[in-house]
Symmetry: C2
Subunit: 337 residues, 2 copies
């Protein structure tokens, strides 16, 4: 191949990580700068561009590169802009034409999308979705994001912002207040903080103090400090309440996935991110409730199983964000910029 | 144009209607046979094919036709099969290779899909969605169906059955029992029978007998006979309870549409079918609650309005099903069969 590399850039609220990626999904060179240390997008790009340039030179120069792919919050693929991204200092209050700025500074074509869409692209190029043309990526973390692929293409929607399944309202009555200002969003239950909140609510209600249940191991941790990881650790030790937290989370996710399947009947729903590392603890209840709630036509007539598979991401955690972002850039091989 | 016509066939449980359609969506010739009078698919096709042949000859012969498009319940575009269609005598208990059978009997290429998908195709070719590449058709009738278009293509999903939004569960707690065997499906609230049921429930609860409200005009109709059309007529006369039925229906639909937008962020959601004929009575509350429940990013930043438009179908009622089915067949111009 003429151009063996793409650059993947993952912009988080605190740091920006980037790497030179080859077609098999190996990160050959990598680097990092601060995101938060700059007041304006101009200053940020003035720091990022030479850092990228350094890696580009190490890898043999610009002519070896198909392009640059960027994953960043509140990003619009169509416009190449970050729009009012609350967690990024220099993108909080306006529309930043980031793809154009980086293209100009580096001389390479540049595409931008949000983190969950980037993860979906990465999964299709290097991970569990290789060979699939219809799947949905669900990213569980501080929030819940999604990337929807139909016909081998990401669904961006009319405005570039499609795929916000974390903000499907799954509890229209008495739902939890969400950061978006509405109530009952999937994210308030299935994100890391959502899982921790379920645990806290159950402890507060004294779930483990009733009907001869065992005192929860989570009571050894100060209430306000409980995290989804704690719940996962205690559940792995057989803590009844922690297991019940996963059952509840699985019910919410399983119901939501059954609804999502009525939309695009995907080959697979792929779980990604911190809380998905609980493995079977989360996957088993999600699978159980997804099956219980699935419309008949989306089940195999003989086995009764859901046609849509439930899978874990196969991108390695630390590298996933860079790989995902980089996958965007391979498309410059297909289409003109 | 070489081949100026397509044939549209609409298979209902009772009758099958068909027509010769030109590129502007004019039905030039039309016909009808019984669906229910035949015991086997073979007998049905043996009756349908000559009836289609007659119109084809009137229109100048096979060489004038691009192909045949069929809209039918429980139909799979990928396989060309009707599968276990509960309301069609000869398709109740198995998989009928209908597209192949009709192709063989007529010598014309033939495509098959369900009614709601056909309606979406019709809308894109001849109706309110001309020029759109991303919209969702919601068909309100005995049930609630949907046809989802993304990138100018119908979303069929991995198995050919995508787009069952009538079976999104919108009330996970204490939802109404649905014909599908689950509870809380959109269809149990927003279909014609669902709207009538809301009215009956409000009458039974004596909604109009409380707090100095006026006695509902619906009380002049025997409880079990109330239809969505009655509700629409009485609401148009200012009946408070009937208006409240539309407010409730609008809340359910508006919330569901806000959820649907998080998936594909469409340019428009288009309402089709009997209950949508209530016009402003249904559209105003749907619009109100859709806006109330819409995630900020899917609203226009200046006006606060939803980016996704809410529209009525522009296909004429009686002809819509034939037009929709016929629209499928134009695709034979683009792709090989």
């Amino acid at each position: 191949m003429d151009k063996p590399y793409v650059m993947g850039v993952d912009i988080g609220g605190t740091n920006t990580e980037f790497g030179v990626v080859d077609a098999r999904g190996q990160i050959q060179y990598r680097g990092k700068i601060s995101t938060a240390a700059y007041d304006t997008a101009e200053e940020y790009v003035a720091a990022l561009a030479p850092a990228l340039g350094e890696l580009i030179n190490e890898a043999g120069g610009k002519e070896k590169f198909v392009g640059i792919g960027i994953g960043a919050p509140n990003s619009n693929y169509y416009t190449g802009c970050m729009e009012f991204a609350p967690n990024v200092v220099w993108a909080k209050k306006g529309v930043i034409h980031l793809a154009d700025m980086i293209k100009e500074a580096t001389g390479l074509p540049c595409a931008l999308t949000n983190d969950a869409n980037a993860a979906a692209m990465g999964e299709m190029k290097y991970g569990a979705a290789i060979g699939m043309d219809n799947f949905i990526m669900i990213t569980l973390g501080t929030g819940v994001g999604s990337g929807i692929v139909i016909g081998e293409k990401l669904v961006y929607g009319a405005d570039g912002f499609a795929g916000e399944l974390g903000h499907m309202v799954v509890r229209p009555h008495n739902g939890r207040l969400c950061g978006c200002g509405r109530c009952g969003c999937l994210e308030t239950y299935a994100s890391g903080p959502g899982i921790a909140r379920t645990a806290r609510e159950m402890l507060e209600a004294g779930w483990d103090e009733k009907e001869n249940r065992e005192r929860s191991l989570l009571r050894d941790i100060s209430d306000r400090e409980i995290t989804a990881e704690d719940v996962s650790l205690k559940a792995a030790q057989g803590d009844e309440l922690s297991l019940m937290v996963y059952d509840y989370t699985g019910k919410i996710l399983g119901e939501a996935f059954a609804n999502i399947v009525t939309f695009s009947s995907p080959q697979a729903i792929i779980l990604f991110g911190g809380p998905s590392k609980a493995g079977k603890l989360i996957m088993d209840p999600v699978g159980k409730y997804m099956k219980q709630n699935m419309l008949q036509v989306f089940k195999n007539r003989e086995t009764g199983d859901c046609k849509t598979k439930l899978l874990f991401s196969e991108l390695k955690g630390a590298e996933a964000a860079i790989l995902g972002a980089s996958a965007l850039a391979w498309d410059f091989n297909k289409t003109s910029v």
